[in-house]
């Protein structure tokens, strides 16, 4: 049985879809069989980010309504044999599926795959409830902004109410130079409020924009600063113990970040 992981945030635009695409591709890079499920029905994006839009024949709603078999709706990635996508329907809305159907879908997928990653829509309504219904674990994506952290906190509370405890946190789009100047929330501030385990930190990276437009996740490009961070997160989710931050008493957060991202003094 594989593991079902939902990637969620509450707030929109913090990088759920980008994270899902990169983590999924990262799992494929280490040889895991993985399927990405786009739960953002009506506003599908994951297929575009993965560069698979032109291959969609059937979608998630077709599966739940019985218009096709699950295997028919799965799209195999053009680069990696073990990477699949289940696209969302674009002409329907969030009410086209219910949590019970999503649970069933996740159960079926987890029989065939090592990892099932669910790209959750923004918000806390029906789409969110559907996306988390079948998940074993949750990964929360936030950016170092007060509004994103506030929404992440709300999401953690809602996950707890659904019996999904101990979500892991990814802080996206950190700019070490701004943190150093004190112009951006640092990791400690965020963890102080959210009080959850940190899964990883993704640095701000222009290449993400390029890769999204190309439909080719940044994780495959070793020159991308975000790539290493995504790869480390994949290894941590896979149960490996990859050190996150080395604490030195007299060094601040910036040197910790430098070491973590691998562009520091050594």
């Amino acid at each position: 049985m594989g593991e079902v992981i939902v990637i969620t945030s509450g707030k929109g635009g913090v990088g759920k879809t980008t994270t899902t695409a990169n983590l999924g591709t990262g799992f494929a890079l280490i040889g895991k069989k993985v399927v990405l499920v786009d739960a953002d029905i009506g506003l599908r994006n994951l297929d575009v980010v993965m560069g698979l839009e032109n291959r969609i024949v059937y979608d998630l709603v077709d599966v739940t309504e019985g218009n096709c078999r699950l295997k028919q709706a799965l799209i195999r990635d053009k680069r990696y044999e073990t990477l699949y996508l289940l696209p969302a329907a674009q002409t329907r809305d969030k009410n086209a599926v219910n949590p019970e159907q999503m649970k069933q879908l996740c159960r079926e997928l987890s029989e065939d795959f090592d990892y099932v990653l669910i790209d959750c829509p923004a918000g806390i309504e029906q789409g969110f409830k559907n996306a988390i219904a079948g998940a074993d674990r949750a990964v929360i994506v936030t950016t170092p902004e007060v509004s994103a952290v506030r929404d992440a906190d709300r999401i953690i509370g809602l996950l707890e109410a659904e019996g999904k405890h101990n979500p892991k946190l990814i802080v996206n789009r950190i700019r070490p130079s701004m943190v150093k100047r004190g112009d951006m929330m640092d990791i400690d501030d965020i963890i102080d409020i959210l009080a959850v385990d940190l899964l990883g930190i993704i640095p701000e990276d222009e290449y993400i924009v390029i890769s999204t437009n190309r439909g080719e996740p940044a994780v495959v490009n070793p020159a991308s600063a975000a790539s290493t961070a995504y790869k480390n997160i994949v290894r941590r989710l896979n149960g490996e113990n990859v050190p996150l931050i080395k604490f030195d008493a007299n060094n601040g957060i910036v040197s910790k970040l430098k070491r973590f991202f691998g562009f520091g003094e050594g």
Binding site: R150, D151, D153, R154, I156, G157, L158, E160, A161, E162, G163, D192, I193, A195
Partner: protein, 203 residues
């Protein structure tokens, strides 16, 4: 009018206390309204101790309301007669309190309303609310909205390891934090003094 039904935290368990003089239909209605406004505060499948002295029909209907909100009921057998002998330390551990103990961090969107004192073992995060009839004690950071003495008790206080809230309310008074709030370094208490809310180190 006294409330027909309240939740009390006793010995780490939730006890449902029903006003014996209230109409039973009011009890059911208030219970339903309270659970609905609790906004998922109670963990799903949390166990609630039912009050003693109920008819079978009343017990069944209370359980029905609880289960609609995902809670299950446990019946408590009344202990007869006083306990004999000296209390050991382990018995003292589970001492009784009238306060509601919230054993977790309250996160954005979560709200607790209680007519007695509330003790939060965890943080009160921004966007979360606590409304208490008496005092509020937070063993953690107070960043959300705390309203002590909500039914007019001017002597109520708010105590927290770190008071970082942007707004505090005691009885009918609302205090807004200054824009340049210093980071607190020790336990502080907010109370009403001379008609305004003041925050000072706890004694």
């Amino acid at each position: 009018m006294r409330e027909a039904v309240v939740f009390k935290g006793i010995k780490g368990q939730l006890q449902l206390v029903v006003n014996e003089f209230a109409e039973f239909s009011d009890v059911l209605m208030q219970l339903d309204a309270k659970l609905a406004s609790a906004n998922d505060f109670f963990n799903k499948h949390a166990v609630v101790n039912l009050p003693p002295k109920l008819t079978d029909d009343q017990r069944r209907r209370l359980k029905g309301v609880l289960s609609v909100h995902g809670l299950s009921a446990k019946e408590v057998v009344e202990r007869k007669g006083p306990m004999k002998g000296k209390k050991s330390y382990s018995e003292l551990d589970g001492y009784e309190t009238e306060a509601l103990i919230v054993n977790k961090t309250l996160r954005s969107g979560q709200k607790v309303v209680y007519d007695g004192s509330v003790v939060i073992i965890g943080d009160l995060n921004p966007g979360a609310e606590v409304v208490a009839g008496k005092d509020i004690i937070i063993l953690g950071a107070c960043r959300g909205m705390a309203h002590a003495g909500a039914y007019g008790n001017q002597g109520a206080t708010i105590t927290a390891n770190r008071i970082l809230a942007i707004q505090l309310r005691i009885a009918g008074l609302i205090a807004r934090a200054p824009d340049d709030l210093d980071k607190p370094v020790r336990v502080e208490t907010a109370r009403i003094k001379d008609g305004t809310v003041v925050i000072e180190p706890s004694r």
